[in-house]
Amino acid sequence: MNLNYRMKTYKRLFSYISLFLVTVIITSCSGGNTNIDTSTRIVLAAYTTPREAYREIIPLFQQKWEAETGQKIIFEESYLGSGAQSRAVVEGFEADIAALSLEADITRIEKAGLITHDWRSKPFNGMVSTSIVSFAVRTGNPKNIQDWDDLVMPDVNILTPNPKTSGGAMWNILGLYGAAKRGFVENVIPEDEQAAQDFFLSVLRNVSVMDKSARESITNFEKGVGDVAITYENEVLVGQQAGQNYELVIPRSTILIENPIALIDQNVEKHKNRAVVEAFVEFLFSPEAQEIFAKHGLRSPDPIVAERFTNQYPPVEDLFTIEYFGGWDTVMVEFFADNGIYDQTVLRWQGSNQ
């Protein structure tokens, strides 16, 4: 009796389960915007800091392209930390263009087989913008932070993003480490790995917040957290343009940040939009777009455009590039691989906290 009663109920329930599944599947299919013409759409996967520049460049390109071909181009943009964005593309985010903070994040996409052309053959080795690692300090610089040494003073509260997700964070660490190794930090013996690592540890001890991306880090600084944010020069300049009151401090020695851009072949093939995506990439390297980048705090890799903005971007006493460390391939292994210099230093930091 009891069993019979159960069997019947289950049969009914089953038919209802299938009915519901069908409805859900139907609603999912009709609800998603599946009818996008991908050939007139560009999906941009970018890191967080150049968004203000893209907001100005994209409409300009749209107008230009429509004037030339009569086609209206739709842009879909996503802004995440460079590392997170790079992993998302590898995991299947079908972006047509990756505009990331550092070369290694493009290389990851390349190694996954999604980029098949030589993106470094573009102007300036595929680097669409540059910047430098610098500091944002409170108005009037109350803690008198002028250079890397000052970061290790007691009760200096530092913000820098997390290198596991943010490209900016990696640049920050390399800027600091390089400055120390090149003899621009007091009491650190030049070219001494151990001394540079010890200096890095003392800076880490003053770090209070590690955000997911460079942008999140600076907006938290704006909300009143910390005394100094290690960040891209362009982040400070864009923040000031947005009406924020803080000051830019450029250390004597710092690293040149080079931000690559690359068309992602496999996704472009799938979307059948190669012509327009290539045109957009070309446009980004044009003096017109380069000037917009320069207006939004980024140093142009184009010497002619850079010449026009020399007042805005003072030269750095000792500017070094990623090549000082032997390029990104070496850096990713030595610094940021599991158990690399970064992990080791963090372990020492956590060990000393307990």
Binding site: Y5, G32, R51, A88, E91, G92, F93
Partner: protein, 289 residues
């Protein structure tokens, strides 16, 4: 049997009258306690809400209206509601079935299943997003099948629905299981003896008693689905206008320094959830009196 009936009767008085305190010392202790409780809840809940309201209206109510009528806000709002609706349809059905099976049946692995249901409470939503990427991503286990069928789950809406389903699973079940246990099987057996079919019993006897529980469970599920952030960001990629929910929009607007937009959207989302939860609470209390 008698115990069960007794238990049933007791359940009906859900909110017993507060007993009068005895002695002067107790009165003061109680007053202090009440004050502490009010201060605690007000500080924790009302404080942030009031700050949000003030910040949103800093530039006047027109700025809020302008902010809320941006196409990106509207599309993300639509996305959020649509996901939440699908989620409550699915959980409304499966949540009820799962609770019913868990309470009324005994089978091998029941305890394990029961434990599994609580996992979404324990796992961080960001991790949920990454787990789904491992399944549905380009190198995921299901990638060959999905590619051949040309179905996109990761970085598309279906993935976001799945993530929200995962995160909201326990709400219905944890709401219904105690109710079902409290009901007992007497009425169901009575219906069966009187010749009702299994389905009739469920539809006419069990379901009506479950209705308040189902409504409350669905409300909680809906509110939680509206607020989900980490899992949908990871699996959806936060593509503006395509996989951007209201919470992801708020996150991006804060990064964009569009503070009025962020606060207005936050206020809208918060208000909706609050009205929903308070409204249902009021309905429930009215039904019980």
């Amino acid at each position: 049997m008698i115990e069960k009936l007794f238990f049933l009767n007791k359940r009906e008085k859900f909110y017993p009258e507060a007993e009068k305190p005895q002695g002067r010392g107790t009165i003061w202790a109680r007053r202090i306690l009440i004050f502490v409780v009010i201060a605690y809840i007000a500080g924790l809940i009302l404080g942030p809400i009031i700050t949000l309201v003030i910040s949103a209206f800093e530039e006047g109510y027109q700025a809020v209206l302008v902010a809320l009528s941006q196409p990106q806000v509207l599309s993300s709002m639509w996305m959020t509601f649509w996901i939440a609706i699908v989620v409550i349809i699915v959980h409304g059905f499966f949540g009820t079935v799962v609770s019913w099976v868990l309470v009324r049946d005994r089978f091998i692995g029941r305890g394990f299943l029961n434990g599994l249901i609580d996992i979404p409470f324990a796992v961080s939503p960001v991790v949920v997003g990454y787990m789904l990427l491992l399944l549905f991503g380009r190198n995921g286990i299901f990638a060959p099948v999905l590619n051949s069928l040309d179905i996109r789950v990761a970085f598309a809406v279906p993935g976001m629905v799945l993530a929200t389903l995962f995160v909201t699973l326990p709400f219905m079940v944890r709401e219904l299981v105690p109710v079902l246990e409290g009901l007992g099987i007497n009425q169901e057996q009575a219906a069966a003896t009187l010749g009702a079919s299994g389905f009739q019993t469920f539809w006419r006897v069990t379901l009506p008693s479950l209705r308040p529980g189902i409504i409350y469970g669905l409300t909680l599920t809906f509110a939680r689905a509206l607020g989900e952030f980490g899992a949908v960001l990871v699996i959806g990629g936060g593509i503006i206008g395509r996989t951007e929910t209201l919470t992801i929009f708020i996150f991006r607007a804060l990064d964009d320094r569009q503070y009025i937009s962020a606060y207005s959207a936050g206020l809208l989302l918060g208000l909706f959830s609050i009205v929903l939860v308070l409204g249902i609470d009021w309905l429930r209390r009215r039904a019980e009196n």
